[in-house]
């Protein structure tokens, strides 16, 4: 008779703790879902920024811009062919 009560008591404890476990894991999974959402948003933001930077770089590295700067601001010019020294292999 005593052992039956004991078993009943143990089952009750197991039941309550598993119920608490469910509550806890649900809570954890919600927290993780929120974190995942935030990280995904961060990733998307990073990708977006990367693509914008790529475009910006593309525009800044545009050959006509570079040429304008090289010839205009830096006063660069192509060497005349008589100024080129070729080392024969």
């Amino acid at each position: 008779m005593n052992s039956q009560i004991l078993i009943l008591f143990l089952v009750l404890i197991a039941d309550v703790s598993s119920a608490l476990g469910v509550v806890y894991t649900r809570h954890q999974s919600r927290l993780l879902a929120v974190e995942l959402g935030a990280l995904e948003a961060l990733r998307d933001e990073g990708l977006a920024e990367w693509s914008r930077l790529q475009i910006e770089q593309g525009w800044l590295a545009d050959a006509s811009q570079i040429e304008k700067t090289a010839r205009g601001v830096l006063q660069m010019q192509q060497p005349d062919k008589v100024e080129i020294l070729v080392v024969r292999p």
Partner: protein, 586 residues
């Protein structure tokens, strides 16, 4: 007893009531749960589309040529917005439109549930709209495509429409590769239509794959700049430059004029055509090396065989084919150097039409190059069974046969590559194994003959590139119009490759309808060829191979391009009609 019977009656009524309630409850809870729960969810659960990123298109060095970046588009549920009309004013202010107009527009569409208000907003404007939290106003993430190189690469890459679907060029040809597939997620929305919780991801959106082209952005820009200035200088209607890698047929540069801005395409059909693959020209003298190849292949002649071209004209089927001058006795090499129509006619007529047709078709004429580029033209090479004698003669010097600039580039690349023909490729890692078009020895012989053209004696002296040996051929052809060949409308061209000792690059220049005083290929197209090749050799670090001239230059520092011979105009295609060919002689 009466009270007792009333009691039973009441009990019966109550029992019936409770039975009815239980029955209804069972009906709702058990029999119709699925339907009702579905209906309930449909009122707050929504599936939201997730736009995929479109793949990046880069040049061969990884420089971005087309990039998608996320932007927000704003859409509304007109009925919900109109419930709070005071919200319209701040919204209209942010979108910089008239509030009355916006309200009118919403009223007209009040019955709908989804109306785009504005596509592709600036990110900061989108953030401000998001901060307003107006019921019924939603933001959808979309992608907008940017082309940092603009008009320089416009024809090759093309552009996409507002729904991110390729419309032209490689954006169209490789649309499914670049596009990826959209995903979706389920979200909970409240009464105002705003997302309160994300439930689950139904499908992850699959981003599009990147595309690496064979185009070299630096060469592309160089060719575009030089082409544009040449087209402007000569008042030409249009122009094309194609640069191929000899070793594998990869397209390093392909530019056309006129062009357009792919970031804001105005749908001007004339500027949008990629003339290098869609437009055919009668190439004129640029075709002569192909005819000479056929002559060499069938042992009609060797490069040193003498050919009598005096008196400078020849009659074929009651038509006269003329040279620019009477060149007298030439050899086969000299026929190409001087671009003698009479010489090439005499040689070609010793072939059967079938032999000649066979050589032309092995070079890929009359057949699309198979790059898969939208709108690619195959050109025209009629079946040899229908060639008359006159037609065979004109085909030998490039009339009565038409080709795209890309086909010409492919054929010249085969000559430069020891007879091995590669299908032109736009995409890195394309599988285009070489086809043996002609015998390597004959290819080398023709290449050596073509080296005599960009010299003081030849028609292409202005095509020369300092410190490099160049081979090539000039061309000037009359444009055919509605009523035969037009007297004063020409196509100037130059096709060539270098360095001749170990060819690396093939470059084709076609200038359509130059309206200035100069129209000969040697005067219009050859200088452009020289500029593009000079720059390309420098950019690609190709070692010079013309030590002889370099040493001479070092001594007297004389300019290479200064000694232009009077023969520059000689490549004028002698025409089948007499009055037209007279024009060539002034």
């Amino acid at each position: 007893m009466i009270p007792s019977s009333r009691l039973y009656a009441m009990l019966l009524i109550f029992m019936l009531c409770s039975v009815a309630l239980i029955a209804r409850a069972v009906n709702l809870q058990v029999m119709e749960t699925d339907f009702l729960q579905g209906q309930g969810k449909a009122r707050y659960l929504r599936e939201v589309k997730l736009a995929p990123t479109r793949g990046v298109i880069t040049d061969r060095n990884g420089e971005p040529l087309a990039v998608s970046t996320p932007v927000d588009s704003v859409w509304v549920h007109p009925g919900q917005v109109l419930e709070y009309p005071e919200n319209i004013k701040p919204l209209a202010k942010l979108l910089k439109t008239n509030p009355e107009e916006m309200e009118l527009k919403l009223n007209q569409r009040a019955g709908k549930e989804f109306v785009w208000l504005r596509r592709r907003l600036n990110p900061d404007v989108a953030d401000e709209i998001r901060a307003l939290h107006i019921p019924g106003v939603n933001l959808q993430k979309e992608y907008r495509r940017f082309y940092p190189t603009g008009e320089v690469t416009a024809h090759v890459i093309g552009f996409t429409n507002i729904d991110d679907v390729g419309q032209e060029g490689l954006e169209l040809a490789y649309d499914s590769w670049l596009a990826g597939s959209p995903g979706s997620k389920r979200v909970l929305k409240d009464r105002k239509g705003q997302t309160v919780e994300e439930i689950e991801l139904v499908r992850e959106s699959v981003p599009g794959r990147d595309l690496r082209l064979t185009i070299d952005k630096r060469l592309q820009y160089l060719a575009y700049r030089e082409l544009k200035s040449t087209v402007l200088k000569h008042g030409a209607r249009s122009g094309t430059v194609v640069v191929l890698d000899v070793d594998n047929g990869e397209v390093l540069a392909m530019v056309n004029q006129p062009s357009y801005n792919p970031n804001d395409p105005t749908h001007d059909a004339d500027g949008m055509r990629n003339r290098a693959v869609t437009d055919v020209v009668e190439p004129g003298s640029v075709m002569k090396p192909i005819a000479i190849t056929s002559v060499l292949e069938h042992d009609i002649a060797v490069p040193t065989t003498p050919v009598e071209t005096s008196p400078g004209y020849i009659s074929i089927s009651r038509h006269t084919i003329r040279d620019h001058n009477n060149y007298g006795l030439l050899d086969v090499t000299g026929v190409l150097t001087k671009s003698s129509n009479v010489g090439v006619t005499k040689l070609a007529l010793q072939l059967t039409p079938e032999q000649m047709w066979d050589t032309y078709s092995r070079f890929g004429f009359g057949e699309a190059t198979g790059t898969g580029f939208p709108g690619e033209s195959a050109g025209v090479l009629r079946n040899h069974k229908r060639w008359r004698k006159l037609e065979q003669a004109t085909i030998a010097y490039g009339y009565g046969v038409s080709a795209t600039p890309l086909q010409l580039a492919q054929a010249y690349a085969a000559i430069a590559n020891g007879g091995k023909l590669h299908q032109p490729a736009f995409i890195e890692g394309s599988n285009n194994p070489p086809i043996s078009a002609i015998d390597p020895e004959i290819a080398h012989a023709v290449a050596a003959m073509l080296e005599t053209v960009p010299t003081a004696q030849g028609t292409g002296s202005r095509a020369r590139v300092a410190n490099y040996r160049i081979a090539g051929k000039t061309g000037t052809s009359h444009k055919s119009g509605a009523s035969g060949y037009a007297a004063a409308r020409y196509v100037s061209s130059f096709a060539g490759f270098g360095p001749a000792s170990n060819p690396r690059l093939v470059c084709i220049v076609v200038i359509n309808d130059p309206t200035g005083k100069e129209y000969y290929g040697g005067l219009v197209a050859a200088p452009l060829f020289s500029k593009v090749m000079t720059g390309a050799m420098r950019i690609l670090n190709i070692p010079p191979d013309d030590y002889q001239t370099m040493l001479v230059n070092a001594v007297d520092s004389g300019g290479v391009g200064d000694d232009i011979s009077g023969d520059i105009s000689a490549d004028m295609g002698g025409d089948v009609s007499d009055d037209v060919s007279d024009v060539a002689e002034d």
